[in-house]
């Protein structure tokens, strides 16, 4: 197992996070934005698990925390999609550029 | 006599009035007015008790009170008393004088507020809140507490101007809030820097720590930092005073606010600037202050002349008085610039004396506006025929303001110049031009109102009546008392002066 260095896990997390960030900041489709956010959360989860195993003070807390994050992410995705559908029913679009009602 | 909680009672007694007012029916005009005036009386009585017990030999230190209030930092800090903010009230001679002045003018202004035409309930509640703020400012022994009370004065003032003022009241209220808000922001920065670097916000402690060599500090306070802080203080209080060119808000307030509020504003609130400069500027940074005296004196002369010359061409009496306030605050600066006993005492005298005189003049403005509905000089004239008593007092007020001996204005003006002539005779000689100009613009304005042919519509107007007598007589009485026997004021001040001068090392 020790053949895989910590940096590899971290690099994977970083790549995932960057993809997620890119998607969240650039995509027009709200569904894709939501999925990108999930990617970023998963990147964080990888980091948490990595450090709980290979960190300076390895402890189970990290994994517990990752589980929490997954649960919260699931809830968030559910709520996010629900809002999105409600919006879609009203506006007939999932284009994020058109969702700027908060401005006024 | 036990003086525990005495100052707390003194400061917060108007709160009782606010509570009672909250239960008054809105439409009960006379009841609200009566209660509003009564609510100012406890602090007046307590202030007078304090004054007379001091004159009777009681030490002012007996009035101090102190409670641990907020604690920043960890356990260690708590033990050493560092980073704790105490609720501490106390007065020295200067504070005592200011508290008495505040209490007196607040009661009189509450009487003058009988001229207010609408929403008395809200008016008096805000008014009493304002009084709490002012009394607190003059009694707090601690910069953070001072700042809190300072802010408390701003909010009621904003609403009092914005709601009960004249035509451009909203604009005046906003410019009041913005200028003073900026001033307090700067003040807050100064307080926070001092607090974080010394670990205390007590004024006495700060004075001691900052003026002893090698005192234990949390972080060093260099000489240049002190200078910077002092200049920041000068700006913060300069807005309040106001110092040229930070004065334009104050003109609007003088013109737009109701006269009873201007009595408070011009009589007390402007004086917080002077109070702060003397108490904190001079008290905490005496050495740096000594380096700034020339600047202060020059600013003072500029204020004096600038205000005087501009008052000379105003066409509205309230504007004349507003510029005259600027001009007279120049005398405070001149006194501070002299930075010797006579000068500082002159500055303090001017604070008190101008408080009384401008309160009197603005009260009379209110009385006259009530009858003539104008303050434009060109529309007024010959009022001495219809209202000889009010005109007489207006003339007396103008005379006091232009420094007629036998009235308080002379004593302060004389001492300020007396002090400055010792240090900077040439500048002082330039400043005396202001004495002439004061006479010119005041006589021009007052004679335009009272002398000359009476306008026909002013012939049948009524003179001073009922409740209007009290403020006039009390204010004139105090002005003359200080003018004839200035030692009533100068004796309580001697101890304060000594402390300040010890800091200067003079």
């Amino acid at each position: 197992m020790s053949s895989v260095p910590v940096s590899a896990f971290l690099a994977l997390a970083l790549i995932l996070f960057c993809i997620g960030l890119y998607g969240a900041l650039t995509k027009r489709n709200t569904v894709i934005v939501l999925i990108s956010i999930e990617l970023m959360l998963n990147a964080v989860n990888i980091n948490l698990v990595t450090f709980s195993k290979y960190g300076v003070n390895p402890s189970i807390t990290g994994q517990v925390f990752a589980l929490f994050a997954i649960a919260v992410a699931a809830a968030e995705a559910a709520v996010g999609l629900a809002i999105l559908i409600a919006l879609y029913r009203n506006r007939r679009t999932v284009n994020i550029d058109e969702m700027n009602q908060l401005k006024n | 006599m036990d003086f525990n909680y005495f100052l707390t009672l003194l400061v917060f007694s108007p709160l009782l009035g606010i509570l009672l007012l909250a239960f008054m029916p809105k439409a009960n005009e006379s009841g609200i007015k009566m209660l509003g005036v009564l609510a100012t009386l406890p602090s007046l009585i307590l202030a007078l008790i304090a004054y007379f017990s001091y004159r009777g030999g009681n030490d002012l230190a007996n009035f101090s009170e102190k409670f641990r209030w907020i604690q920043f930092g960890g356990q260690g800090a708590e033990q050493s008393g560092m980073f704790s903010v105490n609720y501490e009230l106390g007065i020295d001679g200067f504070g005592l004088v200011m508290v008495v002045l505040t209490a007196v003018i607040a009661t009189l202004a509450a009487l003058a507020s009988f001229h207010i035409k609408k929403e008395w309930k809200g008016y008096y509640m805000l008014f009493l809140l304002l009084e709490i703020g002012m009394l607190g400012v003059f009694t707090s022994q601690n910069l953070i507490l001072f700042f809190l009370f300072f802010e408390i004065t701003l909010i009621p003032m904003f609403f009092l101007i914005g709601k009960w003022g004249y035509y451009e009241k909203e604009k005046a209220a906003y410019s009041f809030l913005i200028y003073n808000g900026l001033g307090s922001a700067i003040l807050l920065i100064v307080i926070m820097v001092l607090f974080s670097r010394t670990g205390t916000s007590n004024i006495e402690m700060l004075r001691m720590i900052l003026n002893t060599e090698n005192a234990p500090l949390v972080a060093p306070v260099s000489e240049s930092l002190k200078m910077g802080l002092l200049i920041a203080l000068l700006v913060a209080f300069g807005v309040k005073l106001p110092i040229f060119p930070l004065h334009s808000w104050m003109l609007r307030v003088h013109v737009e606010a109701p006269p009873s509020i201007v009595m408070i504003h011009s009589g007390i609130l402007l004086k917080i600037g002077a109070f702060g400069l003397i108490r904190f500027g001079m008290g905490i940074f005496p050495e740096q202050f000594a380096d700034l005296t020339v600047l202060l004196a020059v600013l003072g002369v500029i204020n004096l002349l600038y205000g005087a010359f501009l008052a000379f061409i105003q066409t509205d009496f309230k504007m004349v008085l507003a510029y005259s306030s600027i001009s007279h605050m120049g005398i405070v600066l001149i006194g501070l610039g002299a930075n010797n006993e006579a000068g500082i005492q002159g500055a303090i005298f001017q604070v008190v004396s101008h408080g009384l005189i401008s309160a009197l003049l603005f009260f009379l403005v209110g009385v006259m506006y009530e009858r003539t509905h104008t303050t434009t000089l060109a529309n007024l004239g010959g009022l001495a025929k219809g209202m000889p008593i009010a005109s007489g007092f207006l003339l007396a007020g103008a005379m006091a303001s232009l420094g007629l001996p036998g009235m308080s204005g002379f004593v302060s003006e004389f001492m300020a110049f007396f002090g400055l002539f010792k240090e900077m005779p040439v500048l002082a000689a330039v400043g005396t031009l202001g004495i002439i100009m004061t006479a010119v613009y005041l006589l021009r304005a007052v004679l335009a109102i009272t002398y000359g042919k009476a306008e026909r519509e002013f012939v049948g107007i009524s003179d001073v009546r009922s409740f209007e007598w009290a403020p006039i007589l009390v204010l004139v009485g105090l002005i003359v008392l200080i003018g004839v026997y200035p030692n009533v004021l100068s004796e309580p001040l001697q101890a304060t002066l000594e402390t300040i001068l010890m800091g200067i090392g003079g």
Binding site: I96 | L310, P388, F414, F418, L447, Y451, L501
Partner: protein, 620 residues
């Protein structure tokens, strides 16, 4: 003498009583005022009598504490003070009495008497002040009394303007006094007269400082005593009721300047330059005002200019080290000028005009006023045996003895003018044919004539207290025990007296020929030199010059400052608001409502922060 401080308090009590109860007392207010001044007068005479045999008395108490400094207030009775007390309270008492008749029927009598009381209080307080600060205090109060009384007819625009002008002009002088006084304090460490003089004598003050302070104090005197160039308020001050002119603008307040210089005499005497300044200003004013007096047609203005001129004489005397001569003339002038004003008031009371062109032939109708006016005229003209003769003579001798020959001749010419214009006035009012419109002219009541009789007697006999023939009692007494004041009597060549007599008689003769006998045409000057006549008639256009320069200058400065106010101060404020608003608008644009934009900005910001963190290691 220990209770001499009560003297000023009687009129003060009268002032306060009349303020409080004047409305109820109505015309009876006059009695309050008269009684109060009578009390002061009696007390003053007692004090003077006591002072004849006892030394100077001085008592003081702390007035104001400034740190270690203790400024005091109190009173002093020395020769000069005691004499002034009597002069002031006497004239004031007589004027109070006279006003009872003159102001009869005016509904504001209580106010009038209240003001008179205030003024008398201030004036009496002024003369017993033992130090400069207290002098200054009462000096200003006197100015206010004068201001109020000049503006007594407040509904008249001219009275309003005159009152304002009087106050401001004298205030200019007062500031000089204030500066001088404060500078003197920081040199000598005291406001007390005696301590200042002691310091000056010891040489504790440098010569230039003495000159500077003396001249500054003299500026105060110039303002109050209507000396050139601050004289213009005095003629205008005639807008006040005539008794006021007699009291304030002839006998007492305007003499305060002379009194001040007299009481500061040792300081002036220590500086040649200061003395010369005083003498030159005095002599110049004397002749300058006399020439204006030649052509005025308002009875009170002629008297006003003659007052200015006579005050110039007093200054000349003091500037020529003639301390006694100055004070002596101050005393005699107080009597005869008050007499002249009261008599003029009586004339005005009778004919209801002040224009002498409209008067004439009143000698037969005003059987009391006429002779009384004549006595005053003779006294001021310096006709021998009248009081003015002796005091003027003293002044001329002092000027000659001090070596001011040029000024001496100026004074002689001024004396000639004085005699001429005073008799011009007399002849135009009293001789000739009565005008048709002067039908129902009648003599004033006795309450008005009696004070004039008292003054007339004094105008004749007051001179005999100090004459070269019978001895200089006044002079010797005044300088007793104080060498700094000079000698009681200055010996001068005998021909001076003859010259003085000659010029005054010449002046009278010329006036008689022009205005009574009319053998010389009246418009002799105006037809031959209209330009000169015009200039003199318009008082050398001094008022106009002031309007064009000083008033205009003040207005210009004000307008300039308003320009600064509007464009600079308000401009900066507007600029700041505009900048803040612009910033706000730009900021608002960033808020597009696009969450992605927000996210991008937040991320970039975070990245920048992290770069900075990485580069600096977290320490700025």
């Amino acid at each position: 003498m220990e209770n001499a401080w009560l003297i000023p308090l009687f009129p003060l009590v009268s002032f306060l009583l009349l303020l409080l109860f004047g409305k109820k007392l109505k015309e009876a207010s006059a009695f309050v005022g008269i009684l109060a001044t009578l009390a002061s007068l009696v007390y003053s005479i007692l004090v003077l009598l006591e002072r004849l045999s006892e030394p100077t008395y001085k008592a003081e108490t702390v007035w104001l504490t400034i740190g270690d400094l203790q400024l005091t207030a109190g009173f002093e009775v020395n020769q000069l003070n005691a004499l002034m007390l009597v002069i002031v309270s006497l004239v004031s008492f007589l004027v109070h009495t006279y006003s009872k008749g003159y102001m009869h029927g005016d509904e504001r009598i209580p106010v009038f008497y209240a003001y008179l009381g205030l003024f008398t209080f201030a004036m009496l307080g002024l003369v017993i002040s033992p130090n400069l600060l207290q002098t200054y205090i009462f000096w200003e109060l006197v100015g206010v009394g004068s201001f109020l009384l000049i503006g007594f007819y407040f509904y008249k625009e001219s009275a309003k303007a005159a009152a304002k002008k009087a106050f401001i002009m004298t205030r200019i002088g007062d500031v000089g006094l204030l500066i001088g006084m404060i500078l003197l304090f920081w040199q000598t460490g005291s406001f007390e007269y005696d301590e200042i003089f002691a310091a000056v004598e010891e040489g504790a003050v440098s010569g230039t400082m003495i000159t500077l302070t003396a001249i500054l104090i003299f500026i105060g005197a110039v303002g109050k005593s209507g000396q050139f160039p601050l004289h213009t308020w005095l003629p205008d001050a005639m807008e006040g009721p005539t008794p006021v002119s007699a009291l304030i603008h002839a006998a007492t307040m305007v003499a305060a300047g002379v009194y001040l210089v007299a009481s500061m005499f040792p300081l002036f005497n220590a500086s040649e330059t200061a003395m010369l300044t005083v003498a030159i200003i005095g002599a110049f004013t004397a002749i300058f005002a006399a020439t204006i007096g030649l052509v005025q047609t308002d009875i009170k203005r002629v008297l006003a200019f003659s007052t200015v001129s006579q005050l110039g004489y007093m200054m000349l005397a003091l500037g020529s080290a003639g301390y006694v001569a100055g004070v002596f003339h101050l005393m005699t002038h107080a009597f005869f000028k008050a007499l002249l004003f009261l008599a003029a008031g009586s004339v005005i009371h009778a004919v209801h005009t002040q224009d002498i062109e409209k008067m004439g032939g009143l000698w037969k109708k005003l059987t009391f006023t006429g002779p009384l006016f004549l006595i005053g005229t003779l006294a001021i003209s310096g006709v021998p045996l009248f009081s003015g003769f002796f005091s003027k003579d003293e002044i001329l001798i002092a000027a000659w003895a001090h070596g001011n020959y040029g000024l001496f001749w100026l004074a002689v010419i001024a004396a000639f003018f004085t005699a001429f214009y005073m008799f011009r006035l007399f002849f135009m009012v009293f001789s000739g044919e009565a005008r048709s419109e002067m039908k129902n002219v009648h003599e004033s009541p006795s309450v008005m004539t009696l004070p004039m009789v008292v003054l007339a007697v004094l105008a004749v006999v007051a001179g005999y207290v100090n004459t070269p023939w019978f001895g200089s009692f006044l002079g010797d007494w005044l300088v007793e025990g104080n060498e700094a004041l000079g000698h009681g009597h200055i010996a001068g060549p005998g021909w001076i007296m003859i010259v003085a007599t000659a010029v005054s008689l010449l002046g009278i003769l010329l006036a008689w020929m022009m205005y009574s006998k009319k053998s010389i045409s009246r418009d002799w000057l105006s037809s031959r030199a209209p330009i000169v006549y015009g200039i003199v008639k318009n008082k050398y256009y001094i008022d106009e010059i002031y309007n064009q320069t000083v008033v205009f200058g003040a207005k210009a400065i004000s307008l300039f400052l308003r320009f600064i106010e509007i464009f600079l101060v308000e401009g900066i404020v507007k600029l700041t608001t505009a900048a803040v608003q612009a910033l706000g608008k730009t900021g608002a644009k960033i808020h597009s409502g696009q969450v992605q934009t927000y996210g991008t900005i937040a991320f970039v910001g975070l990245a920048v922060l992290m770069v900075i963190f990485a580069l600096t290691g977290g320490y700025l």
